[in-house]
């Protein structure tokens, strides 16, 4: 039987999402964790697109646009934080951020 485009798309989104999750759990550096968060958001957005295409509706893309806005804002603030911490001379390892160790 042929694989439907929708199913394939959703499967791809799921795999990318899971990969991002694993990366988030494994990595300790804050930059990497932010990256993995972006991966997950992107995967979710892709799933929305697939669903929208499947139903021939614009709502999938609309949702994707909102998601983009969220991701952008979040990345901005997150990276600003990273820069801030770096400027203060703190370490970026996640376990040490809580205790505020120096780099």
């Amino acid at each position: 039987m042929t694989i439907q485009a929708t199913d394939f798309g959703l499967a791809v989104a799921a795999i990318i999402f899971a990969a991002g999750l694993v990366g988030l759990l494994v990595r300790r550096n804050m930059l990497f964790m932010l990256l993995c968060t972006e991966i997950m958001l992107n995967a979710a957005g892709f799933a929305f697109i697939v669903a929208g295409a499947s139903w021939a509706s614009a709502q999938g893309q609309v949702m994707f646009i909102f998601l983009l806005a969220v991701a952008a804002a979040e990345v901005a603030v997150g990276l600003a934080l990273v820069v801030f911490l770096f400027g203060k001379g703190k370490s970026l390892e996640l376990d040490s951020i809580v205790s505020g160790e120096e780099r």
Partner: protein, 169 residues
């Protein structure tokens, strides 16, 4: 199903997996850009041309470039970790993946079968029609992100301004 979709999907998956196992931050970023491009192609094939364009322009072109800038500034961190640290997250990820696949494959397919293209005009009509409120809120969100980033990343005040404040007290 379009074979191009299959290919680009596979590329996206492979690139993402390579991202998370990289040691070098810059390499990881580059792999992620590849993945995003592949996904954009998938979106094009699925008929969501506007979304594909936005993916490239905003996501790959702005967000990831920002990442690159910060990584350059901060220094490419290379974090080391034990291989055994992968086991539990891998299990968890696998479990979640299995569930997601199970759920998504069981759904009834939409009537279009997955290849109907949605024009950008329709997206624009939806965005400024029923979803106008959402658009405005997204604008607010971006503004708050802007302000927060600005405040957080600002350096200390220049000495002249501080001296001026002390004198006027």
């Amino acid at each position: 199903m379009n074979p191009a979709l299959l290919v680009s999907g596979l590329i996206a998956v492979a690139a993402t997996i390579l991202v998370i196992v990289q040691r070098n931050a810059v390499h990881a970023l580059l792999y992620l850009i590849v993945s995003l491009f592949a996904l954009a192609v998938s979106m094009l094939i699925l008929g969501a041309s506007f979304a594909a364009a936005l993916e490239i322009v905003v996501y790959a072109g702005a967000i990831l470039v920002l990442f690159v800038f910060v990584v350059m500034m901060v220094g490419a961190a290379s974090s080391t970790f034990k291989p055994s640290a992968w086991i539990l997250p891998a299990l968890l990820g696998a479990a979640l993946l299995a569930e997601l696949v199970y759920v998504s494959l069981g759904r009834p397919a939409g009537q279009a079968g997955g290849a109907a293209s949605v024009a950008p005009k329709a997206v624009g009509m939806a965005l400024f029609g029923p979803y106008l409120l959402g658009s405005e809120i997204a604008a607010f969100l971006l503004l708050s992100g802007l302000v927060g980033a600005f405040r957080l990343a600002r350096r200390d005040e220049p000495p002249s301004a501080e001296a001026g404040k002390e004198q006027s007290r």
